[in-house]
Amino acid sequence: MLTKIWSAANYGLKAVEIEVEVNVAEKGFPSFNIVGLQSKSGEEAKERVKTAIVNSDFEFPNAKITINLAPADLPKDGSFFDLPLALGILSSAGAVNKIEEKSYFFGEVSLDGSLRHTRGVFLLAILAKENGIKNIYVPRECANEAAVIEGIKVFPVANITEVVRHLNGQKEIIPLKTIIESELEYCGPEFDFAEVLGQEFAKRAMEIAAAGGHNLFMVGPPGSGKTMLSRAVPGILPPLSEAESLEVTKIYSITGNIPAGGSLIRQRPFRSPHHSTSLVGLIGGGSNPRPGEISMAHRGVLFLDEFPEFTRGALESLRQPLEDGFVTVSRAAGSVQFPAQFMLIAASNPCPCGYLGDEKKECKCSLHQIMNYQRKLSGPVMDRIDLHLTVPSVDVNKLMIDKDKYVGEKSVAIRKRVIAARRIQQERFKGLKNIHSNSDMKNKHLKEYAQFSDPANLLLKQAVNKFSLSARTYFRLIKVARTIADLDKKEVITDAHIAEALQFRIKTDL
């Protein structure tokens, strides 16, 4: 008997409807074949499904079983189809009533018949809504992901037995209540700026970077707090809007990064890939393309520590996403676009050993080594970074003394200023496409949106001579000054703003 069950496969950032056709033939030599699934995962799925059915106290039909996953030309791998496969076999064998209403079944089964956490449930729910499907059956552990989508019934399934009973009308599974976004609790940032002792200069730089969406680069000896400062940045960025939250959740769902029981992602992501991360791991890829670290950092912060240690290829590949806000992954099967709008924070030691210029420890690097190391700090990515700063080491003795009386500003307070500055920018760039923050401005916009007072103009001209600023540095400087003026709630950029922005210019010698 032939049974059709519906499910979905993920391709790129989209779910595609898949028809699972199961035929249990009455004639023929007993066998079990799956077509339309990439060979290896097909073999694995067979064993899991067979064992799970038997361990759930159902009979596995001793007949010729043929399964087709259509469309056959779409590459499908992974374990999403275990549940529909099992139900299709049971239904063809007569253990399950015919499924009246078109529904989606999705999830990987364990050998004992229970369902495991499966990636991509959120996308399945979006597809269901688009296609007007009312019911979806997904593993209980990740059912919350789907429950944020209105208008569909999400059935959390614990194991095969449960879903069979439900379909046969013996014991109903209660669908989840829709989770309304505003009910989700916003949990505070991972790190609070108040926890970082001192480093007021660096904090101010982070505030400016967050307010204008600028990328930031810092140089400092080991232990100066570069990583800690960066980790605190998501906490001062404005909260994710609903649309942004959906975008992030999609990516997290497809990569299986939403924890069990989790639903919408409400916090801006922070990703810090190690410098040995492969190119595919960084920008995304694979024969069935999956998002990489830069897409995982979408709408959040991408922190690249030990920046010069990344391979040249990796750094080059960051160029397109930094420019366009997305990355295109082209493979034989087709090309996929992943969003990748992130704030880049790059960090580096002043030299390979890290102690160049340190007063207590001697630097052991040769001049040649230092030159080689710093040479890597130029090139296409550095051109996209607006703020450059040096983070000096912190004297541990002073830290101990100051610890008790030190009161740093809390992230919440900084965030308020950032949000206000961002609001000014939203208003300013209302009619413009693809420009959301000051860092997105092209040179042609500067004339219109960055007006200077006379003293500011004078200071700027002097600075160009004095520091031999290149045209590129000059324009970056103006953008940063624009953000500082926005934080100051001033429409016209004054000399004070320019003077401060000059502190964050790129310095040719370290």
Partner: protein, 288 residues
Amino acid sequence: MKIFKDWPIRIIERKDFPEQLIKVRGCPKKLYYRGSWDNEIFAKSLAIVGSRRMSQYGLAAIKKLVPDLVANGFTIISGFMYGVDMASHRETLECGGKTAAILGGGLDIISPPENETIYLRILENSGLIVSEYEADFMPTVWTFPQRDRIVAGLASLGTLVIEAGLKSGSLITSRFTQEQGKKLFAIPGPINSTLSQGIYFLIKEKGAKIVTDSSDITNQKIKGNQMIIEYGDSLEKKILELLGIEALTTDELCKKLEKNVSTISQKMTVMSMGNKVNESLGKWRLYK
């Protein structure tokens, strides 16, 4: 839009002239002007003159020097002719500085006529347009050299010559400058350019001071007034004192001076531009 004739023409008598002009041989009895006359703006002033056929090199020199001069409080005086004169007026205005234009004809005759906008901008930026002739007096060949003695005369420090040929009117202004006992500055140009020949004549024969950097001019004491602006407020003094003891980071300065980061950052930029401090690896030191 406001037109230039909306600005009334006023007259200033010789007794109210700035001191440096009164002393000039052939000082006019009165001057016509538009704008508001204040001898204060001539207290620290420099004339910039040069060729009408200014090259890119000349323009680059103006762009390099004028911002620093304006920042040092100089009023720029020039002759409102195209070329170096106009570029100097324009650059000064762009830097928010004050400038005075001395015309070779009456105040209602704008020559060259396309410069009406800049004429207005000078007035709007509390500068002056000055002439010794009646409003509708047409400029002629002999009025320009006459005008040059006033250009040189109004400047308190002296005259800077940027690009001049051997028969240039700038040499006339230079002669007046030296006759009046003021400093003569010249910017050396390429030796094969005709626009450098007048300059080298001034340097070799007339003892003009070579200028390659604005400090060549700003470090000069102004004769008579002895006016040198004392830079630096109390904050700057404190920073210099602290850095005299040891090198400090921006953070440490903030803490010691109990100021916020933006204030200190701004100050450090200004001080490093004045070659008072410099930074390496995050630490500030006194400029050696």
